[in-house]
Every structure is written in structure tokens, then in C-alpha cells.
């Protein structure tokens, strides 16, 4: 299965008055990558939050908390699910709103839920998969399941590695989640540190694959190691110095988090949202990240939507793939 985000309509939400962003090109083809640019306060993060919040309706029948607090707003995402056009909406539809024949949504919080048959099918399939072991790229091999529903991966702008060690280490449950939102909290069960330490103990073969992947990211000669004694992950620099994982620079952490989250969670046909992709990155690392994401896309097809202020991403992903949010 393949999810493609075709457009999003947002009205009276946050700083946004009334916009519709098209995620397709002049010939109608869905953009594999879309860069959303705009001044501070123009609503870039709002757009990503709205998309993630609307997607929750597919899983739970209710919009995410972000939308539920916007009682006077309206949001609609138009998707292409394989060959089917599908709309998800929240709020009272404005007179000019056009829902696809197949759709689902909440007209008002928890009051009226509207859906067509495709929703029931999708919802059921997501429910069947939710919480079950998933074919993460670095936790094993892909399932050869035809009807596997891809997911939505959202990396909000706050991305850093928190120190996690000892008793804070959780078993890494590589289970499917229709919406995976990266969190920067110590007890985040899917933290990279927990993941690496758990793998080192429980899945040595996989750990070896993961360590090779991390070392292959080429952080200027830095290598990643697990200290069993301290229950911590350490980084050795090219000149022999050693420090904790969370002591990597903020730019390195950003790069590491994006690559490892996608490597761990990305299923073919998914939609990936990254807010402020350039966080703390030197232009050289911006290029490395962009090229890495394109390389990953050739390996595992997915739709990437990023927000940024860095012109390098417009340059690499293309001006025709850029959408400007600032009114002019």
C-alpha cells in the first residue's frame, strides 16, 4: 500500500487564515519531496501538526489533540491511497470545501463522525497492525505483506538525545505504530540509547548491523559503542577521545536522529514530516542530510515533507518542489 498526501486545506487554525497547499506538480504528479518555506510565524509547524493530527482520525476515529483544541477551525487533507482518492477532515466544512467521495472526519469534536466504506477497511487494517511486531528496517527484514498499511512519521523541531542509562533502559519494542512521533524525553521507550543497549544484550546480530549503519554515517571518524558496565552508549572520536551519545553536537544529534528514526521506522509508501530540518546543521551537513534522505527514498519509497529556512534544501530538492507559506 502507498499513502500520498495530495493537498491540505487549513482554515482559522493558529496563524493560518485560509490556505490550501498542493503537494503535486503542474502535471498532477504527487511530489516525492516538498519543502515548505516561509517567514517565522507563517504557520509551517502548524501545517505539519495539522497533517499529523488529521492522520490520527484514521487510526482512532478522533483527531489528534492539536486539532481538538481548535474548535473554530477547519482542516482537510486529501490523500491518494493506492489508486483511491480519500479525504480526512476536522471541523465544520466551509461552503467551498470539496471532500473526495471516500472520506472520513469529525464535524465537531466527538459529536458527528462521518465515514465511507474505505475508512472502515483502512481503520480495521491499521488496528490489526497497531502494536504488533513490525518489519523495521534495522530490526529484521521487511514483511512480505501486501496489505501492510504504511505509516506517518513525524519529527517535530525539538530533536535531541537525552541521557538515558541504567534502569531507564527499556526493552525496545519494535512494534508498528500508524503514527510515529519522535519525542525528546528521557523515558521515551524508543530512545536511541535504549534501543542500542537493548540490542547489544538481546539481539547481538542486529546490533552489529545497527552499529555498522551508525559508523557508516561518517561523523568525521566517530564510532559508536555500548558500555555494558555503565549501561550507556559512548562515542569515540577520531583522535581517541570518548564521550556519551547525548554529548554529540546538536547538529550531529539532529542528523543521527533523523537517519536512525527513518531507518528504524520507515515502511515503504509512508509519509515523513520533518519540522525545521536544518536544526543546528552546518551547510555541509545540510547537504549530507538531504542527499542521504534522497538516497533512502530510492531504497524505500516514501513522501517527504519538510519545513525549513535554509536555502540549501530548496537548492537540492528543487524550486518546483517548494511551497511558500508567507503571503506576498
Amino acid at each position: 500500500m502507498k499513502l500520498e498526501l495530495r493537498s491540505v486545506r487549513i482554515k482559522n487554525i493558529g496563524p493560518i487564515d485560509d490556505i490550501k497547499i498542493d503537494f503535486f506538480n503542474a502535471s498532477g504528479k504527487t511530489l516525492p519531496v516538498c519543502v515548505i518555506g516561509g517567514a517565522n510565524g507563517s504557520g509551517k509547524t502548524t501545517v505539519l501538526e495539522v497533517i499529523a493530527s488529521l492522520a490520527e482520525i484514521l487510526q482512532t476515529g478522533k483527531a489528534g489533540a492539536f486539532l481538538r483544541s481548535k474548535t473554530n477551525g477547519y482542516a482537510q487533507a486529501d490523500l491518494l491511497i493506492d489508486e483511491y482518492d480519500f479525504s480526512i477532515f476536522f471541523g465544520t466544512s466551509p461552503s467551498d470545501a470539496e471532500l473526495k467521495k471516500e472520506h472520513c472526519g469529525e464535524q465537531a469534536e466527538g459529536i458527528t463522525f462521518v465515514s465511507t466504506p474505505l475508512y472502515a477497511d483502512l481503520h480495521q487494517r491499521i488496528e490489526n497492525q497497531q502494536g504488533n511486531p513490525s518489519p523495521w528496517r534495522l530490526s529484521g527484514t521487511y514483511w512480505a505483506v501486501k496489505n501492510l498499511v504504511p505509516s506517518l512519521i513525524y519529527l517535530p523541531h525539538s530533536r535531541s538525545l537525552e541521557p538515558v542509562s541504567g534502569q531507564q533502559i527499556h526493552k525496545e519494542d519494535a512494534n508498528y505504530s500508524f503514527i510515529h512521533r519522535f519525542q525528546t524525553v528521557r523515558k521515551f521507550p524508543g530512545s536511541l540509547t535504549s534501543y542500542l543497549i537493548y540490542l547489544d544484550y538481546a539481539e547481538p546480530e542486529q546490533f552489529s548491523d545497527v552499529r555498522n549503519f551508525l559508523n557508516g554515517l561518517n561523523f568525521d571518524g566517530k564510532t559508536f559503542h555500548v558500555s555494558r558496565k555503565a549501561l550507556d552508549v559512548s562515542v569515540k572520536t577520531a583522535n581517541g577521545r570518548e564521550h556519551s551519545l547525548h554529548e554529540l553536537s546538536s547538529g550531529e544529534q539532529n542528523l543521527l536522529i533523523i537517519f536512525t528514526e527513518l531507518r528504524r521506522k520507515l515502511l515503504p509508501g509512508s509519509v515523513v514530516l520533518i519540522d525545521e530540518i536544518e536544526n543546528s546543521l552546518h551547510p555541509a551537513y545540510q547537504h549530507r542530510l538531504a542527499q542521504g534522505l534522497l538516497a533512502l527514498q530510492r531504497e524505500v519509497p516514501y513522501q517527504l515533507i519538510v519545513t525549513t529556512h535554509a536555502p540549501a534544501f530548496v537548492e537540492i530538492f528543487g524550486k518546483e518542489s517548494t511551497r511558500i507559506l508567507t503571503p506576498f
Binding site: 486545506r9 482554515k11 487564515d17 485560509d18 490556505i19 490550501k20 497547499i21 498542493d22 506538480n25 503542474a26 518555506g37 516561509g38 517567514a39 517565522n40 510565524g41 507563517s42 467551498d96 529556512h309 536555502p311 530548496v314 524550486k319 518546483e320 518542489s321 517548494t322 511551497r323 511558500i324 507559506l325 508567507t326 503571503p327 506576498f328
Partner: protein, 280 residues
């Protein structure tokens, strides 16, 4: 509802970099460098973009104004050979394209006093040939006079290009004589006759007519700056009195203008018309 879809590449680039700031389009990179330097304190409210010529400037400005609703895009263009009436019209209420009152932005860098200061700071011996700023003004007027025939030929090209654009909409144009190719008058007439497809006698007559008009402007430097291209004057000043790279002199004069007080014409355009409108 505002539809956000793909835009022409050059607009995407401008709008991405501008953010919520006013967009000010100028013709060349040098114009951009000077204005960014002079108005660096206001760069949080506006950004200057070079368009590589007047055709692009007109096209992009029109696109921005037609597609946008806030109309925060403006253009500043060289006067070239435009009339006083055309220049005045560009300052009418609601205008977005302002024509400089002098021939080009460089003409605002070439005031006798700051130029003399810059030249004598670099080489005090210049005071022997140019004892004070009055002599500098005289020298600048001499240079303007020496450029008169080239300027006259370029003016004919300007009118020809304008007529062709008005009759056919074609922007293919006769190229001005390049800076540095400051040929003798008879060579200029010969080349211009070829370009304008007329005989040399006729061409000489046409150039002489324009020279006569130009001469009327050369009574003082202020009016000379309206008709003689500052880029050409700068080139001569550099070759005759400064020698080192032209860009260095250009930068020194840009700094000097900022320190001594920016030209009124430019301040009015930027502060009153662009920032003033953007604020309302």
C-alpha cells in the same frame, strides 16, 4: 482561500529568501551590494535582489504584483535615457517601480568631495593634479565630455530598442558599447551606422544631434549625472587616478557615501516609498 502551489523558479527563490520582508528588485549585483550596504539596518524589513537586467526586473515585478495580494514588491531601475516626465511618473502614488533621477546608481557615488577624499587618501600626490574638490568636479565634467559621443550612440540604441519593443514587443536589443571600449568618435560612428543600418553620414548627424542635447546637461555635474553613465565615469576615474581594481574604488566610494550621508534621492525611495508603504 489562498492556494499555495508551485511558482516560477525565480519567484520561489525570491520569496523563500525574503520571508515577510518587502522585496526590492534591482538590475545588477553591484546595485544590490550598494543598497544592502547602505540600508543594512533595515534588512530585517526588506531585501534587495539582483535581476540581471531590466527585462527580468520588469517581468519578475509584474509576476509578484499580479500573483500576490500584499503588493510588497518594488523595483529600482537606472534612468538610462528616460525623460524627466518618465522619471517623475515613476514616483506617482501607488507606483512600485522607481526610476533613479540620475543615470545609474554609480552616479550617486561620484560626488566631487568624497571622490577626491578617497583618491587623495590612497595617493596624496594626486593633489598635484587635482588640488581640491573643485578641480575634481572639473575633471569629472571633462570625463563626461569625453564620453559624450559614446553616450550619444547608446542613446540612439536605447531609442531604437524602445521603438522595436513598442511596435513588436520584441526585447532583442542592440547592445550598448561596452565599458572600456571607449573608441574614437569616428569608430563609434562607423560601428553605430552598421548597428542602426544607416549610412555613416546620417549616423554622424544623428549622433551630433544627441551630443548637442547632452552638452546642455554638462554645464554642471549634477545635471551631467542624469545623462552620462556613472559606470563609464567610474571606469575612467579608476584608470586615470586610482589604478587598483575597479571594485576596490567602488567599495571605498560606497563606504564613503554611507559615512557622509546617503543620497537624498535614494533615501526617499527606500525610506519613504518602500519602507513607508510596507509599514502601512
Amino acid at each position: 482561500m489562498r492556494i499555495i502551489s508551485s511558482l516560477p523558479p525565480e519567484l520561489t527563490d525570491l520569496l523563500f529568501k525574503a520571508g515577510a520582508r518587502a522585496i526590492v528588485l534591482v538590475e545588477g549585483d553591484k546595485d544590490c551590494d550598494v543598497l544592502r550596504d547602505w540600508f543594512k539596518k533595515s534588512l530585517s524589513q526588506m531585501e534587495f535582489f539582483a535581476c540581471d537586467g531590466i527585462s527580468n526586473l520588469n517581468k519578475w515585478l509584474e509576476e509578484l504584483l499580479n500573483r500576490g495580494t500584499l503588493k510588497r514588491a518594488y523595483g529600482i531601475t537606472d534612468r538610462d535615457f528616460r525623460s524627466d516626465a518618465e522619471v517623475d511618473d515613476s514616483y506617482l502614488q501607488g507606483s512600485h517601480l522607481f526610476i533613479l533621477r540620475r543615470y545609474a546608481l554609480e552616479n550617486y557615488l561620484l560626488e566631487p568631495k568624497p571622490l577626491w577624499e578617497v583618491l587623495t587618501l590612497r595617493d596624496p600626490d594626486i593633489k598635484i593634479s587635482l588640488p581640491d574638490e573643485q578641480d575634481m568636479e572639473t575633471r569629472l565634467l571633462e570625463i563626461c565630455r569625453a564620453l559624450k559621443h559614446i553616450v550619444a550612440a547608446n542613446w540612439l540604441y536605447f531609442d531604437e530598442n524602445k521603438a522595436q519593443y513598442q511596435s513588436s514587443g520584441q526585447t532583442a536589443r542592440l547592445e550598448y558599447f561596452k565599458i572600456g571600449h571607449d573608441h574614437d568618435r569616428h569608430i563609434v560612428i562607423k560601428q553605430a551606422a552598421k548597428q542602426l543600418k544607416c549610412n555613416e553620414d546620417d549616423c554622424e548627424k544623428r549622433i551630433a544631434e544627441r551630443e548637442e542635447i547632452i552638452e546642455r546637461y554638462l554645464t554642471n555635474l549634477n545635471s551631467a549625472h542624469q545623462v552620462i553613465d556613472g559606470k563609464r565615469i567610474l571606469h575612467w576615474v579608476n584608470n586615470d587616478h586610482f589604478i587598483t581594481g575597479r571594485d576596490y574604488l567602488f567599495r571605498l566610494l560606497t563606504d564613503r557615501a554611507r559615512l557622509r550621508g546617503l543620497p537624498n534621492d535614494i533615501v526617499k525611495i527606500v525610506q519613504d516609498r518602500i519602507l513607508g508603504s510596507a509599514r502601512t
